[in-house]
C-alpha cells in the first residue's frame, strides 16, 4: 500500500477536514497540520483526544512557522507530534508516495 501524506490547513473548529481525515486515513500514513490546521495540535484544546486516539497508527507533524505566527510557541503540543520547518515539509512530500490536501 502506498504511503500517503495528509495535509490539513483548516482549523478543526471551523471545518471538518480533520475529522474526516482521521476517519479515513489508513494506518501507516502521515498527517501534517499547517496554517489554521495547527490549532488541532494543542494539547490543551478540545481536539487533543481525537488526535491522540490515532497517534499510534498515524504519524503527526505540525509546521513550526505557522505555530509561531499564531503565538502558540508557549502552548504545549500533543505528545508525539513532531515540529517541522519548510525544509521538513518538502522532505515529507518527497518521502511519501502521494500527498493529499484536504481543502
Amino acid at each position: 500500500m502506498s504511503t500517503m501524506l495528509h495535509l490539513i490547513n483548516k482549523s478543526p473548529f471551523d471545518r471538518n477536514a480533520l475529522d474526516t481525515c482521521l476517519r479515513l486515513a489508513k494506518t501507516g500514513s502521515s498527517v501534517l497540520l499547517l496554517e489554521d490546521g495547527v490549532y488541532a495540535a494543542m494539547s490543551g484544546g478540545s481536539y487533543a483526544k481525537a488526535v491522540s486516539d490515532r497517534m499510534g497508527e498515524l504519524t503527526f507533524y505540525v509546521l513550526g512557522p505557522d505555530v509561531s505566527a499564531r503565538g502558540l510557541d508557549d502552548k504545549p503540543l500533543i505528545d508525539g507530534i513532531d515540529v517541522v520547518d519548510y525544509g521538513g515539509f518538502v522532505d515529507l512530500v518527497v518521502e511519501h508516495e502521494t500527498a493529499q490536501s484536504w481543502l
Binding site: N9, K10, S11, F13, D14, E35, D36, Y39, M42, S43, G44, G45, S46, A48, G64, P65, D66, S68, A69, R70, G71, L72, D73, D74, K75, D85, Y86
Partner: protein, 129 residues
C-alpha cells in the same frame, strides 16, 4: 466651519462586529479589524466580539517572521486609541482551545455564552465574519 471642527454624528447606532475566524489562514480577521477601525472613526457605539476561532486573533506573542505575513495582532492594541472599549470574548471558545484570559494581547471582558447572547440581542446592527 473650519476643517478641524467636527460635527457630532446625527444618529448613533449600536454596531457589533463578531469575529469568528483565526488570523492568517484567511483574510477575514484582518478585514474585520479594518472595518471596526473605520466604523470607530464615525463615532458610533461599537463593540467587538471574539467567538469560535476568532479568539485566536488575540493570542499574544504572535511572530509572523517565518510565514512572511504582516503581524497585525499589535493593531488590536490601537483599539483603545480608537475609543473601542467594549471588547467581549466568549469563555467557552477560549476553553475549547486551551486558552485563558492571560493568553490575550489586550484586556477584554470574558463572558459566558448566555451573557454574550444578551448583549448581542441589544444591538442595532450585527456584522459577523
Amino acid at each position: 466651519m473650519e476643517p478641524w471642527e467636527e460635527d457630532g454624528p446625527e444618529v448613533v447606532k449600536r454596531f457589533m462586529y463578531v469575529n469568528r475566524r483565526a488570523p492568517y489562514g484567511t483574510i477575514y480577521a484582518l478585514e474585520c479589524l479594518e472595518v471596526v477601525l473605520i466604523a470607530a472613526a464615525f463615532d458610533q457605539d461599537v463593540s467587538v466580539v471574539f467567538v469560535d476561532d476568532g479568539v485566536c486573533q488575540l493570542k499574544k506573542d504572535q511572530d509572523t517572521t517565518a510565514i512572511g505575513m504582516k503581524n497585525f495582532s499589535n493593531t488590536y492594541r490601537a483599539l483603545d486609541d480608537y475609543d473601542v472599549e467594549k471588547i467581549y470574548v466568549e469563555k467557552e471558545s477560549l476553553e475549547a482551545r486551551g486558552l485563558t484570559e492571560e493568553d490575550l494581547i489586550i484586556p477584554v471582558e470574558v463572558l459566558a455564552a448566555d451573557q454574550l447572547g444578551d448583549i448581542m440581542a441589544q444591538q442595532d446592527v450585527v456584522i459577523s465574519s
